[in-house]
Symmetry: C2
Subunit: 497 residues, 2 copies
């Protein structure tokens, strides 16, 4: 066997183990009985240790050196080596005791956070979060030294390969300057719109589910390689060729489950569209979290909150529930689905105010990792940013700096990918419509094939062949440009009505 084929076989085995973990994670969230939790945690921890052992196998370093000197490899093989080298460098940067200490600290902190959030008790969380932060800094430092990055950028790169905070600073500063003024215009425009009757439930869960399945099928989701289930926190997970999404149902409001299904279907289409032959190799993985979020937001926000989609979908929704009335007119549904209202909670935010929530978190976590902001001052700094970006002051930390699980659970460097994803979604959808002008009218007919075809060719089937910037240039002609997102917001929330 050549060094390259050794590497490829080894990473096939790592993928087989990751797939097992993916199914256990799905099981945990969707179907596991609660008494199974303690022993399940042992199984997952063991598989993670085994995976870490395989990912840091010292033979990888030798194989890499040899394979990189091989001139006979094609573009995908070379990109695969690039990805393997990247992962190997990051995985081996950390001493095993740091990995273990961080795993233990985040488990403890996550539990403390559940209580602290409930009690709005930041001071109670402080010692735990402080320990997590200390270890995240250490992890960032260790990886950063190996990768030639700042600690924050090293953390960011786990979610967004190639991501750099100086670029994000520029994009986010631009947005932060633009959004407050836009928000005033949006609220003024919205005040001039008619008020619509809210459809009244109950909306039976089985009907909601059937509606979700119908829409997933229309979007091109492959049920032979996935499932739709229920979990407390909706997600897209599972394994290669087994991409499962979840939602949660509220019998008084069907739209939250449906929009959740459409969002997760966007993620799932990306996963299902990765190239079969490379699926279990690093080059076959999704490119990064900003592109992943771009796919969910492109489907949910760009495609499925559009007039075209709702002209197709509103009558189907109405008929599914055996309902009638002016509240089911596509225009009324469109207005409900595109209502803007500043609030404290990120996950409830609309498309216009969502970036403010992300920018705030990004600025704070960067300052915390750089030790420019003492952790004890986080609540005050949070509230000051909320005031500046959204004009709101949280009445307590429960709806302020304690609302998200990311920091307690060690997800530092993740937040910016939400808004990078929103910008990317706008730019990709814009490029798709220019390349295939029929996309909006096809959507109005319930035909997603033209959109999916473009996404398959330009994003999904590319997997990790290119770096994110290269992919974006190839697909849209330029690097990430907030102008497209800004124009989208203005068009949808100010100009349309």
């Amino acid at each position: 066997m050549t060094a390259y084929s050794e590497l490829s076989a080894h990473h096939g085995r790592i993928a087989a183990l990751s797939n097992a973990l993916g199914i256990l994670h799905w099981d945990n969230a969707a179907v596991m009985p609660k008494g199974a939790a303690p022993r399940r945690a042992e199984s997952v921890a063991l598989l993670q240790v085994l995976r870490h052992g395989m990912a840091t196998d010292p033979r990888i370093g030798d194989w890499l050196g040899e394979a990189e000197a091989d001139d006979g490899l094609g573009a995908w093989e070379r990109a695969n080596l690039r990805e393997i080298r990247r992962i190997w460098t990051a995985e081996t940067a950390l001493p095993a005791d740091l990995v273990e200490a961080s795993s233990r600290a985040t488990s403890t902190c996550e539990m403390a956070w559940r209580q602290a959030r409930q009690d709005s008790d930041f001071v109670g969380l402080l010692p735990h979060l402080s320990e997590v932060l200390r270890l995240q800094r250490e992890i960032g430092q260790a990886k950063g030294e190996k990768l030639g990055l700042s600690p924050y950028d090293a953390l960011l790169n786990d979610y967004e390969p190639g991501g750099r905070s100086d670029q994000i600073d520029r994009l986010f500063d631009d947005l932060a300057a633009f959004l407050p003024g836009l928000l005033d215009e949006v609220l003024a425009a919205q005040a001039r719109r008619p008020t619509d009757a809210e459809p009244q439930g109950p909306f039976p869960v089985e009907t909601q589910r059937a509606l979700g399945v119908r829409m997933m099928e229309a979007l091109g989701y492959d049920f032979d390689r996935g499932r739709l289930d229920v979990s407390a926190h909706p997600f897209c997970g599972g394994a290669d060729d087994d991409v499962r999404i979840t939602t949660r149902y509220d019998e008084n409001d069907f739209s939250s489950a449906l929009m959740g299904v459409l969002h997760e279907t966007g993620h799932a289409l990306y996963e299902q569209g990765r190239p079969q032959g490379w699926m279990s190799q690093p080059v076959g993985h999704a490119r990064g979290m900003s592109l992943h979020e771009s796919q969910s937001l492109l489907i949910e926000m760009q495609a499925c909150r559009s007039r075209e989609f709702l002209r197709f979908a509103a009558p189907i929704m109405r008929d599914a529930f055996g309902a009638s009335g002016p509240g089911w007119e596509p225009d009324a549904v469109w207005r409900r689905y595109n209502r803007v209202a500043p609030g404290f909670i990120r996950v409830d935010a609309d498309e216009v105010t969502y970036p403010a929530h992300v920018i705030l978190r990004y600025r704070l976590e960067k300052a915390l990792i750089a030790d420019d902001l003492p952790l004890a001052e986080l609540p005050a700094a949070w509230n000051a940013q909320m005031k500046e970006l959204l004009g709101l002051t949280p009445p307590n930390d429960r709806v302020g700096c304690l609302q998200d699980i990311h920091w307690p659970s060690g997800g530092w460097g993740y937040f910016p990918t939400y808004t990078l994803g929103a910008l990317t979604a706008a730019q990709l959808f814009d490029a798709a419509r220019r390349a295939v002008p029929d996309i909006p009218s096809a959507i109005e007919r319930g035909d997603f094939a033209p959109l999916l075809g473009w996404l398959r060719a330009n994003v999904h089937a590319q997997a990790s062949l290119l770096e994110t910037d290269e992919l974006l240039i190839q697909a849209t002609g330029r690097t990430l440009d907030p102008a497209v997102f800004k124009a989208h917001l203005r068009r949808r929330y100010v100009e349309e009505s």
Copy 2:
């Protein structure tokens, strides 16, 4: 750490891996989308290789030697060492290439069998089955040499630790002599019974499921540590503290799903009743397949096809389906659930004719492993035994020697445990009623606590502390005695009516 605690920690890790495999197996059978199968097979194969590596870790041998010399261990610890030694001896008896060759041969043969059964083509299966048999003989020989057993007994011991074919011969010869005469009496008695109207469906799946759940709860199944789902072939599986059962529903006949649920609940109660502190150690495992089958048959056949249970359950069934009529009277339901009819198919057989199916298979597989019967002559030998034991001649091999998956899939030595389980069930239920006379009247009230309490104390919580024979003597006062089963059959199928 002492050698004992090293062993214990190591087997805790093996259990964590086995639990992961158990959940993947459940997922496979109950929820996996079909397109996921090829990659799932890779994940399962990898975890099995990792588990085999852990189970044959050479340190186990050293730890065992040291721990067995430790005088300070209690009875459970010593029994744990006995089990660990037994498993270690069997696992290390086989060279890795034999394990791999057998795994490959059974996969191929299983696939060939699906086609051969459909086409009733024994000759087409012959080369594949011949290879599986050759490797099973080799496995039996290799294990037998290490364990001081004949090849067949070595195979049997994988399912039934301590099982010996000379004992089984005596039990089965006794049954084979008894059953044909009994069957004539049963059929004569049955001819004198009234014919009952068959309740007419459809019986909605959701109602059937709710009825199953109701009965599982009555039996004492813990839904905090398990689930009820659907699969093509009902089974009990999952993991420690996560014991999941499945059934399949037929809207024209609710009793097959319900009896399946009761049967699998019997298995699940055993698994859920194993002692918490030992659950992940070999001594904490269920004792063997005959005891396992005894628990499912005790619940299904002994308890839940009794008059007492059906006086409790028949009105609940009737009300669940909103039905009425004489077909729902407990006596009528009892007659339907205890109808005897000789047939070709083992899995459709009643309690009286089932042992004939097992005895036939046991005799043939023993002769095949011993090379006393050429594989090519299997169909003729099968049909001769069917004629002798049940008076029937299969019209083709599809309903004859091709009907079961056990031989093609490498499950040689498994069959006798079904009937050993039936004998054990009768003997345990008899002892339970003698010890706790209130058991039948409690069942008639829908109260399974007295029965479950006895089973917990005498079987479930014993796990593998004792050998099977010792457990039976402790619980019932004697080793396995077919007289109790024979008396049960005569009482239920000849004397009652």
